[in-house]
């Protein structure tokens, strides 16, 4: 394959065998490879051939390394811009050219990458800029950008610098002076670009011997394995690798993967098979094989660091962002303040602090006992975000990281693991690399600097120790020229191989095809795939090719036709040994834990509601004080809205005292009263909401209260005889040990017939009175009020539903009160038959529930399925394990 491709202008007839490379190098030859990976492999092979335990490292370079080395020999040679500088320059040119805001910063970044690649292809294939003219908007734009870039490189301060892509062309005139070797050995090239050909032709013409390396046809043993699923395939490979390594610990093994392989899954399976002990050491980070490591930006420490930086200099941060910061183990003083910080998080959740002002927090009492957190937050709030040169950002940021504890000031305070030290070292390299921006920009904004830092951290790979350095995992496309003892080729299905063509988007397709730009058309992709296939077959004496018939949601994949001639064998069973099961026993979870005399229980009607819903819930909440962590939500919470309405109504009725007073007011007077009530409510309830939210809520309150007062005008006349009256109800009534329930009744009215009407404001959903009846009441609030207020046969209880669009009363009474929504207990419309009997029944039921609580009943026995709906204790009560009536309720689609 290689041979025929050399038959162009460049004529490389000469070849030497792989075994002769060493002596050629000893005679002053230089081995140049297509890739740097191959150069490293050649060094290894040559050293391995040596009989000495220590030898000088052979001089083998990749093509690109060779050019760079040559360029350094010329002091006056322009220094190429580094990658970051070049990318920044392309972006500047593109941003300026496009001028508008139609492209996002990520799009500009992508366009810069495309432009840089397109320019490199143009240089390598000697494509003239004229070829791009009139070929569409994209290539027109590329032309403008190239011109813009050259203008920048031709003027100060960049005058005298160049792009890496220009290196070969710039070296060409001096190549003969620079290349001191008599012989160049080439290996791993599928084809040469016109620029490479030019260089080699010139050297050849000057008498330098150019030879390629002839690989002896290795007697390869090839097997093909068909697996049912990807998981099975990867498990098979991992198990085989394990067996090979056990037999030959130093064997060099490669797993070459196609694009259809889920590499992350492969890593997991390899980890599980080859490093089973790692499950016990989550902090001991190591790679199982020589493979692409994770980007630095995915490391916990760096993610937390970058997250913290996004909060630097901000006045207000979201709770979600702040909570992440609170739990960062790298933030100053975490070890000492860990539990306090968790407590703070819980409190903030409880108070629904969806947004937080850091400054406000620092000055508040909430941070008491957490001096380190305070100090770190102070450093963050003091962060200045005005534009600066990159070098200044770098230094200031390093200081900020010290001030917040991410970087320790001295090694003495450091108790960091190797993994953490590696993360920090690599991070510092990334941070330092950003000073390169100063060559191409003046001042950088904080946002831009942070984005660039993030990119640098994503581009950097964290070097981790490798458990099996002799095991490599790499893509098939990087296999050219490499040698191993054993090779596994994974995911070799017809979809993944041969490779598909991948033309460069900014260069016109006809131009790419005219110049035979690699991979630009299916035929070229096929040609390159055939080359790779040969390389795979030569890569090891034993090659195991596999594919899975099912990958993801794709089924019945075929093997690549390249491997079609090999005999197929089915994947042998590689099931992992079954886990030995441990014995279990059942245990009694229904032991009562009676309330002791000195145990203080603080509870209102919710306690009885919980007890009625499920004794376990009441026990957990009121005896063990275990509560669910809440989530914050944007805006104003329903409970806060409700309590504001309560406060406003308290104000209003304190003023009015009767319906007559209400009716005597004009509309304007009513407006004034409501507004005063709203202001008063906000004075009393200082919820942490923004001014704008407060303003909307005030408006809503006004509408709701106005509607409600109009509703109150409609009912029969009444006087208000009590407002927000406190009751203490001791239950059970006739027992020795009692449970004290604290109750605040919103209001008590008396109508002209003398009925007392106990009213509870409800701002939530409709409550049918069926929820107040029965043995275990769903909603025992009004029954408890009735008992506390000792209501009699002429009285009534009712919810006042103060809700936009749904105003009204929902209550029960013995005699008609004339209020719409109040149901008389006469046995009609499913109502109870006798009001007094109901009052008695309520007393009994609540007594019984209180008794259960006092007895310490904690069984998991919910009233019905609905009682479990919003409970949130399922993980604790384990009801799904013990069994529950099958849920066949509402349908979901």
């Amino acid at each position: 394959m290689q041979q025929e491709l050399f038959n162009r202008q460049l004529n490389i007839d000469e070849s030497i065998s792989a075994s002769g490379v060493s002596s050629s190098l000893d005679k002053g030859g230089l081995l140049i490879t297509a890739s740097s990976k191959q150069a490293v492999d050649w060094k290894r092979r040559l050293v391995a051939e040596s009989v000495l335990p220590v030898c000088e490292t052979p001089h083998v370079l990749s093509w690109q390394e060779w050019l760079l080395e040559l360029s350094k020999a010329l002091p006056a040679f322009p220094v190429p811009l580094n990658r970051m500088q070049e990318t920044e320059l392309w972006q500047q040119v593109i941003r300026k050219d496009l001028g508008d805001s139609s492209q996002s910063s990520s799009s500009i970044r992508g366009l810069a990458k495309h432009a840089s690649q397109a320019y490199t292809i143009m240089q390598e294939y000697a494509i003239k800029t004229e070829e791009l003219s009139f070929s569409g908007e994209e290539s027109d734009a590329l032309l403008r950008w190239i011109s813009g870039l050259h203008n920048k490189l031709d003027s100060e301060p960049l005058c005298g610098r160049m792009l890496v892509a220009d290196l070969a062309k710039a070296l060409l005139p001096a190549i003969l002076d620079l290349c001191q070797k008599r012989q160049l050995l080439l290996d791993g090239f599928h084809s040469f670009t016109p620029m490479q050909e030019k260089i080699l032709c010139r050297l050849q013409a000057a008498g330098i011997s150019i030879v390629h390396i002839e690989h002896e046809g290795r007697a390869t043993e090839q097997s093909m394995i068909c697996c049912e699923t990807e998981q099975q395939e990867l498990q098979y490979i991992s198990s085989r690798v394990q067996t090979e390594l056990q037999a030959q610990p130093q064997a060099r093994i490669a797993v070459a993967v196609s694009d259809s392989v889920d590499v992350r899954l492969l890593h997991k399976v390899l980890n599980r098979t080859l490093m089973p002990e790692r499950v016990n050491m989550p902090d001991h980070q190591m790679l199982v094989a020589n493979m692409a490591a994770l980007p630095l930006s995915e490391m916990p420490m760096i993610q937390q660091l970058l997250h913290m930086l996004t909060l630097a200099g901000k006045d207000s941060v979201s709770f979600a962002d702040f909570s992440r910061l609170l739990f960062s183990p790298y933030l100053m003083g975490y070890a000492q303040e860990r539990f306090d910080r968790a407590g703070l998080d819980r409190t903030l959740r409880m108070n629904n602090r969806h947004y937080l002002s850091l400054q406000f927090l620092i000055e508040s009492k909430e941070l008491e006992g957490m001096p380190d957190l305070s100090s770190a937050l102070m450093a963050l709030t003091n962060w200045q975000v005005n534009n600066r040169p990159a070098r200044e950002w770098v230094k200031a940021l390093h200081q900020l990281l010290q001030d917040t504890g991410f970087i320790h000031i001295s090694f003495a305070e450091s108790e960091r693991s190797n993994h953490e030290i590696r993360q920090l070292n690599t991070f510092r390299d990334c941070l330092s690399s950003l000073v390169a921006l100063d060559a191409v920009t003046n001042k950088v904004s904080w946002t831009r600097f942070l984005a660039l830092l993030r990119t640098a951290c994503s581009d950097a790979q964290l070097a981790l120790p490798i458990k099996y350095p002799n095991l490599s995992v790499l893509p098939i496309s990087q296999m050219a020229g490499l040698q191993f003892d054993k090779l596994f080729v994974a995911g070799f299905d017809a979809q993944a191989f041969p490779l598909s063509s991948s033309p460069q988007p900014l260069l016109p397709l006809p131009v790419q095809q005219k110049y035979r730009v690699s991979m630009s058309r299916p035929a070229l992709a096929y040609e390159y795939s055939a080359f790779l296939w040969q390389q795979l077959l030569q890569a090891a004496p034993e090659v195991y090719i596999s594919w899975s018939k099912q990958s993801g949601d794709q089924e019945s994949l075929n093997v690549s036709a390249f491997a079609g001639c090999l005999d197929v064998s089915a994947c042998p069973e590689t099931a992992l040994p079954a886990t030995e099961k441990a014995e279990t026993e059942s245990f009694d979870d229904a032991v009562h834990m009676p309330l002791s005399v000195d145990e203080t229980i603080r509870g209102g009607t919710a306690l009885i509601r919980d007890q009625s819903g499920c004794p376990f819930r009441a026990y957990t909440r009121y005896r063990l004080h275990v509560r669910e962590l809440e989530e914050t939500e944007p805006g104003i919470e329903a409970t806060t809205k409700g309590s504001l309405i309560h406060l406003a109504l308290e104000h209003i009725w304190q003023k009015l005292k009767s319906q007559a007073a209400l009716k005597a007011m004009s509309a304007d007077e009513q407006t004034i009263l409501i507004e005063q009530a709203i202001d008063d409510a906000w004075q009393k309830n200082r919820s942490a909401v923004t001014t704008s939210t407060q303003s909307v809520e005030k408006r809503r309150m006004f509408l709701v209260l106005n509607d409600w007062l109009n509703e109150e005008r409609q009912r029969p006349a009444f006087d208000v005889i009590a407002i927000e009256k406190l009751y203490e109800l001791d239950l059970p009534r006739y027992a020795k040990q009692k449970l004290r329930i604290h109750i605040t009744a919103d209001r008590m009215d008396r109508d002209q017939q003398g009925h007392r009407i106990l009213i509870d404001y409800k701002t939530g959903a409709k409550q049918s009175f069926s929820k107040w009846l029965g043995e275990r009441m769903e909603e025992p609030q009004l029954p408890l009020y009735a008992l506390a207020a000792a209501l009699g046969e002429h009285d009534a209880v009712s919810f006042a539903r103060i809700r936009s669009g749904e105003m009204g009363f929902e209550g029960l009474c013995g005699e008609s009160t004339g209020i719409k929504g109040m149901t008389i207990c006469d046995g009609k419309r499913s109502s109870p038959e006798d009001w007094q009997a109901l009052l008695n029944d309520w007393a009994e039921q609540t007594d019984s529930l209180a008794e259960e609580f006092i007895q310490g009943l904690s069984t998991v026995s919910p009233r019905d399925e609905k009682a479990c709906r919003y409970c949130g204790l399922e993980a604790v009560c384990r009801i799904e394990e013990t069994g529950f009536d099958q849920d066949t309720g509402d349908d979901d689609e």
Partner: protein, 1106 residues
């Protein structure tokens, strides 16, 4: 008919749209069409076949490749022979044109529409505005929500009145507004162009009001056409009579002046609504004769009028569909116009939605991921010019596409249709090029509205009204799947259930008859229960499954059974019944993971480890199977103390208060989780949890399926990791979308449980449809009602904002009713899909109301048994049974916990050499160090003796270049360079430096690259400087360019010495291997300080310090 249609459809010279009902051999037809095209094209890439799923694309590719590799079939197998012949022609073509098609199947452009749009957008990075292709994100609701929240906050700051009006619309429930806006973002392709346009057009209100008037008029016209002439003559007088009655409670007082039948125009809408109100019950439908009473304006004494009204009502109630139409009339807006308040609300909404979209764009850019809607919108943007007409950019694509095939065309969305229109826009008839379009699908199987499929597009395309190339409309009829009895029943049933006529606007598709091609016997049976009883229904189904699974199917194998329901939850009752009966089954995407006990425990474990104050999660662990403390035992541990549970269980006093077994179990938890608590937050959450899970011995305590579920949840957790932490709200949301892994045993494959949506494309010997009597759950009302109304030459949008909370809005309802009818029509099609999966047996189960004996409105059973138990089900066998006694629920199981507390073995990490943390002396330190190293190397190469002024000059240039290459510039470059120069000058001038860099040493080396074989591996090293001194000692010197200012220099050097000693000792041992007899010494040289530290070999005394 079917065969000739097939022949035409295979013909590569014509464009066609093929309606291929269930079981009609569509895939074979597509394969043959592709082969036929391959035999005539210049390059395979000229053919583009589009599918909706990757699975379908892979299947299609497999079928084509299979055909290319097939052996010549028997002459009798005519359809196989046709395929073989077509394939042979393709192989010949491939050989002639060197396509290598058999080896390179990737050249077949068989892809999903999503992949195509992705490829288009990638190929046009500038025009699509996707310079950097985003990752296709599938769970982006969190981004929609974030964008919505940010947009509302911005609107509150910029235009508080608008924000307030929208928030008050929802009773100031910010979270609801955010959710509704987020939902709108998910379908922004529907409204974005309209909304963006309306923000700038002043005529928008007028345009939409015109459409509104037209819709209102349309309804009135429909109604008017259905009412018999005699009713028109007599009814006005009767209604006037009723309106005059004091006791009349109907809303018809405005009809008092009604002299005659009202005019058919928008202005008379109030009169029309009055008539409708006078005729219908408030709950809908016509009143029974007895209900025409004084409350309806006909008191007992007005006998004649009453009789007349009763007759008229009877006449009208015999007209099918009139009651619904009249009810619709009542709901129509009184004025076909937006009030100012409505319009300003709409404008506020537009403003908010546009801002939300802007925010979303920003988030997409920041996250580097986007939804497919975005990619399609961008691809279209690239393919269209500013006026929205297709540009000639298609030239840029790999090859000109000449033939397009679209599978499952009934699932096309309007956005995908636009793409198809663009792709075919340049296809001019008569330009000498042969191009074809082939679309195949079944509108009766269009059930993916939730994925934005618009069945109306199929109907438009079939009528050649879709702005696509002209196509021949063909229909396949033969059914190669079901028994004739089933085919006949489906024909009878769906001719009734599906509408009589197609309707593009409302997504109505009429039924197309099928003809059975098979001859085996089949059975259709409906099992109706009086009153709902899920447990009884499940028991009946289990009995049926037991009976049918032991029978042989057509192929001689045991019958395969599919149990299909409308919703997952409907299967939840059947699963325990099957388990109880010991029937193995495969429930595909049915059981939500979130409610599995092992997943609840995993969640609690993650919360407990990551949030020390989450007492509830800690309690869950203490009560779990791996600890098993009862509520009573937890009491002395947890009560009356606000500290975290972790702190409490470490409190000696509290521990002493509990019994020995509890102490033992607590000790286990502390030992198992202690190391995890230590590292929580510093390691990936997945790793942390895997360790904790393992240390708690949970794999040994749970069964294999639980372990599979845990693995799936851990995978999800891994994808949500945010630097060792996790957003639990998001985890909960995503867990809802995961389902327990199905039983993969071969035995379980015989009985499959799926949703009807999931069953599309599949078939079973026996199909069971449970729960047909149940209704679906209504969806939340969207913030903006939206529909497209066809107009001459296209469609026009109509929008209305949601009514105030718990209120109603007539315009909104009108628009929503169009969407609602699309929903209802699709529901009937879903039943069609379910029924047509059956090969030999179709068994249906449902319940009717115990009292009325009718099926619930909105249920499938209502479609099959419209008249309740009195009616029949299109000839299906019917079995009626009464709901039995509730079968006793199984007894509760006791809670389990581990019996023996396992011993924990602590793994020791392999000893690793301690990593050295950098001294950070600023960003320039490393470049300076490298440049100085290089300069010292140059100096040593020529020898210090030769290093004069010219050397310094040339080295200054080299060092400057080296520093620039490392990115330094400006003042930092100059400072760094002067540091380098100073260091070099200092080294050259000092005695130590001169000695080190002298050329007089024998065997001197600089940057000495050595390779070593160590235990079978090879390692490479580079030694800065080495030589043999006068005493014959081999020196190994490492340059250290760290500088030190102030403080204790000696301490600094000692620190450096201890940090770097292992490295130098390693060098020494390497050189000893090279020359075992040669004494070797090593040292650090600090050119910045001109300092020197000799490093002692292990076992030696420290050498004298310099």
């Amino acid at each position: 008919m079917s065969e000739s249609a097939r022949r035409q459809a295979r013909d590569p010279s014509i464009s066609c749209l093929v309606q291929a009902p269930a079981g009609s051999g569509k895939t074979e037809l597509l394969t043959q069409r592709i082969l036929a095209l391959l035999a005539i094209v210049e390059e395979p890439e000229e053919i583009l076949a589009l599918t909706f799923t990757r699975k379908a694309a892979a299947e299609m590719r497999g079928r084509v490749m299979q055909a290319l590799n097939m052996q010549k079939p028997d002459e009798k197998q005519s359809h196989k022979m046709e395929t073989w012949q077509l394939a042979q022609a393709v192989l010949q073509r491939s050989q002639t044109r060197q396509w290598n098609l058999s080896e390179h199947p990737g050249r077949l452009q068989l892809m999903t529409l999503d992949s195509l749009t992705f490829a288009l957008a990638r190929q046009l990075p500038l025009l699509s505005g996707l310079g950097e292709m985003p990752k296709p994100g599938e769970n982006l609701f969190v981004l929609y929500r974030e964008a919505a929240e940010a947009a509302i906050n911005l609107l509150m700051r910029a235009e508080p009145e608008k924000a307030e009006s929208l928030l008050l619309l929802l009773d100031h429930q910010m979270a609801s507004l955010i959710k509704l806006v987020a939902e709108m973002l998910a379908k922004r392709e529907q409204w974005l162009p309209t909304v963006a346009q309306n923000l700038v057009t002043s005529s928008a209100r007028h345009d939409m009001q015109e459409i509104l008037a037209r819709l209102v008029l349309e309804r009135v016209e429909q109604c008017n056409a259905m009412i018999p002439i005699e009713v028109k003559d007599q009814l006005p007088a009767l209604l006037v009579f009723a309106a005059k009655q004091d006791d009349c409670t109907l809303d018809i007082k405005h009809l008092l002046d009604l002299q005659q039948w009202p005019a058919v125009n928008v202005e008379s809408i109030a009169l029309w609504q009055g008539i409708a109100a006078g005729l219908l019950k408030k709950t809908g439908g016509f009143p029974a004769p007895a209900s025409i009473n004084k409350a309806r304006g006909f008191p007992a004494h007005a006998k004649a009028e009453k009789l007349q009204m009763q007759e008229m009502t009877a006449l009208l109630s015999s007209i099918t569909g009139l009651d619904e139409l009249l009810a619709d009339l009542i709901r129509l807006p009184a004025q076909p116009a937006y009030s100012d308040q409505q319009w300003s609300l709409l404008e506020a909404l537009f403003e908010l939605l546009v801002r939300a979209n802007e925010q979303l764009q920003g988030l997409f850019a920041r996250q580097g991921e986007a939804d497919f809607t975005e990619v399609v919108l961008r691809a279209l943007q690239a393919l269209e010019d500013e006026a929205g007409t297709p540009s000639d950019l298609l030239m840029k694509l790999d090859y000109r596409i000449h033939h397009i095939l679209v599978d499952e065309f009934q699932d096309t969305s309007s956005l995908q249709m636009r793409l198809l229109q663009n792709l075919t826009a340049g296809w001019q008839a008569g330009d000498g090029r042969h191009r074809t379009l082939f679309m195949v699908g079944d509108p009766m199987q269009s059930i993916y509205r939730f994925r934005k499929a618009e069945v109306g597009l199929f109907l438009q395309a079939a009528a050649n009204e879709a702005d696509l190339p002209w196509v021949e409309s063909l229909k396949l009829e033969r059914n190669f799947r079901s028994a004739p009895d089933i085919v006949a029943w489906v024909n009878r049933t769906f001719a009734n259930v599906l509408p009589d006529d197609d309707d593009v606007v409302r997504g109505a598709v009429s039924h197309a008859m099928a003809a059975s091609a098979l001859h085996h016997t089949g059975r259709v049976k409906l099992h109706v229960q009086q009153g709902r009883d899920d447990i009884q229904e499940a028991a009946a189904i289990v009995a049926l499954v037991q009976q049918e699974k032991s029978r042989a199917g057509l192929d001689g194998e045991l019958q395969r059974i599919g149990i299909l329901t409308r919703s997952r939850k409907q299967l939840h009752a059947i699963i325990p019944a099957l388990q109880e009966a010991g029937i193995a089954f495969r429930a595909i995407k049915i059981l939500p993971l979130a409610t599995r006990p092992e997943i609840r425990l995993l969640r609690a474990l993650s919360r407990a480890l990551l949030h020390p104050a989450d007492s509830q999660s800690w309690m869950a662990i203490l009560r779990s199977v791996c600890c098993g403390l009862s509520s009573a035992r937890l009491f002395p541990l947890l009560t009356a103390d606000k500290r975290s549970v972790w702190q409490l269980i470490h409190d000696e006093q509290r521990i002493e208060a509990v019994d020995a077994d509890t102490q033992l179990r607590l000790a286990f938890i502390k030992d198992a989780l202690g190391p995890c608590v230590e590292v929580a937050g510093t390691v990936p959450v997945h790793d942390l949890l895997a360790t904790a899970w393992h240390r708690l011995s949970l794999p040994e305590l749970l069964d294999e399926s639980a372990e599979q579920n845990v693995a799936a949840a851990l995978e999800l957790i891994e994808s949500l990791d945010e630097g060792g932490q996790i957003n639990f709200a998001l985890l909960d949301e995503r867990l809802e979308e995961l389902f327990a892994a199905p039983d993969s045993s071969s035995e379980a494959a015989q009985v499959e449980l799926l949703t009807m949506h999931g069953a599309k494309g599949l078939q079973w010997d026996v199909v069971i449809l449970p729960g047909l009597g149940k209704t679906g759950r209504g969806a939340d009302a969207p913030l903006l009602a939206f529909t497209d109304v066809p107009e001459a030459g296209g469609v026009k949008p109509l929008l209305a904002p949601k009514a105030e909370v718990r209120g109603k809005d007539a315009i909104y309802s009108l628009i929503n009713s169009i969407e609602k009818s699309k929903y209802n029509y699709e529901l009937a099609r879903l039943l069609y899909v379910a029924c047509t999966r059956a090969e030999s047996g179709l068994f249906m189960y449902g319940h009717v109301s115990e009292s009325t004996e009718l099926a619930a409105n909105g249920s499938f059973l209502k479609l099959l048994l419209a008249d309740g138990l009195e009616g029949e089900c299109f000839g299906a066998e019917i079995e009626i049974c009464e709901a039995g006694e509730q079968i006793e629920a199984t007894e509760k199981k006791a809670l389990q916990r581990m019996l023996h507390i396992p011993e924990l073995v602590t793994e020791q990490a392999e000893q690793e050499e301690l990593e050295t943390e950098y001294f950070w002396a600023g960003p320039e330190a490393a470049p300076v160090g490298n440049a100085v190293h290089e300069a010292l190397q140059h100096a040593a190469l020529i020898g210090v003796e030769q290093c004069g002024d010219s050397f310094m000059r040339s080295e200054n240039t080299s060092m400057r270049n080296a520093l620039m290459a490392e990115g330094l510039s400006g003042p930092m470059l100059e400072t760094a360079l002067s540091r380098c120069s100073r260091a070099l000058e200092q080294a050259l001038a000092s005695d130590r430096g001169s000695w080190l860099l002298s050329a007089r040493h024998p065997d001197a080396r600089c940057e000495w690259a050595l390779s070593v074989k160590q235990e079978g591996f090879i390692a490479h090293y580079v030694i800065d400087r080495s030589f043999i001194d006068e005493q014959g000692i081999r020196w190994v010197i490492d340059y250290k360019t760290a500088s030190h200012e102030g403080g204790d220099l000696n301490a600094f050097l000692s620190e450096e010495e201890s940090r770097h000693a292992p490295q130098l000792q390693r060098y020494t041992s390497i050189l000893k291997k090279m020359q075992p007899d040669r004494p070797v010494k090593c040292a650090l040289y600090f050119p910045m300080l001109d300092a020197w530290r000799e490093i002692a070999q292990p076992g030696e005394d420290s050498p004298v310090m310099d």
